[in-house]
Symmetry: C2
Subunit: 135 residues, 2 copies
C-alpha cells in the first residue's frame, strides 16, 4: 500500500497511521491531507496514532507541519490515541507537537474539534484563539 487513506466523516477527516512513516509516505500524507482539506472544506483533521509505538523527530515534525498547514486552511488538527511511551519520547526529543491539539481517543478528539469549531462560531475571532495551542 503506498498511500495512507484519509476518511471523510462529516466535516472532519480521519487518518489512522498504522505503518512506519518513512520519508516519501509522510510527505505524500502531508500533501494528501492538505489537498483533502481544500477539496472537502473539512473543519478538522483527526490523526490516530494508537498503532504507533516508536516516534522520531521526523514524524513529530510531519505531524506539526500537518497541523500548521491545516490551520492555514481553517481546519484544526487533533492527534489522538498517543501511547504513553510516545508522549515520553516526544518530550525527551523536545518536540511538543506545535500547532496541534491532542486527545485521548477518537471520541474525545471529535468532541474537542466540535467545541473548537463552536467556539470559533461563537466568538467569530479565530485568529486570537491560541489558549491551548502553540503557533
Amino acid at each position: 500500500m503506498d498511500r495512507i487513506p484519509i476518511l471523510r466523516m462529516g466535516q472532519f477527516l480521519l487518518v489512522t497511521i498504522q505503518v512506519d512513516l518513512y520519508d516519501r509516505l509522510a510527505l505524500d500524507l502531508e500533501a494528501d491531507i492538505v489537498k483533502m482539506v481544500n477539496k472537502t472544506g473539512a473543519r478538522g483533521v483527526l490523526i490516530d496514532i494508537s498503532a504507533v509505538s516508536i516516534v522520531d523527530s521526523f514524524m513529530g515534525r510531519i505531524i506539526g507541519n500537518i497541523g500548521v498547514m491545516s490551520k492555514l486552511l481553517d481546519a484544526e488538527t487533533v492527534v489522538v490515541g498517543m501511547q504513553p511511551a510516545v508522549a515520553i519520547t516526544l518530550v525527551e526529543l523536545g518536540l511538543p507537537l506545535k500547532g496541534v491539539y491532542t486527545a485521548l481517543n477518537v471520541d474525545k478528539g471529535m468532541d474537542l474539534l466540535r467545541s473548537i469549531i463552536q467556539d470559533d462560531v461563537d466568538t467569530a475571532d479565530t485568529d486570537d484563539d491560541d489558549d491551548n495551542i502553540a503557533e
Copy 2:
C-alpha cells in the same frame, strides 16, 4: 506494527485496513474486533478497505467471518470504500461477502448503520431482518 487499530466512535467501531492481511494479522484482527464488540457493546463495525487494491479468497473469508461473528454479538458490519477492481475480483472469485453490508464511503456506511439500528428498534425483531443480508 503488528496490530490493526480498532477505533471506537460512539456506538460504532472503525477499522481501516491499510496493509496486506497476511494470515496471523487477519486472525488477530478477527479476534480483536469480536473482543472489542463484546467489551464496548458496539452496535456496528465499519471496515474501510479503500487502501486495499488486491483481494484474495482468504481476505474475503475473513471479512465474511467478522460479519457473522459480530452479528452473533448483535453488531452489524459494513464494508466501505471498496475499489471497483476489488468488487470485480470478489465476484469473479465467487465471494459475495456474505453477512456484511457495503457502502460507498464512511459517511454513507454510518448512515446505513444508523438506519439498520433504528429499524431494529422500530420493529423489535432483529432475527427476521435479512432483506439485504445473506446469513
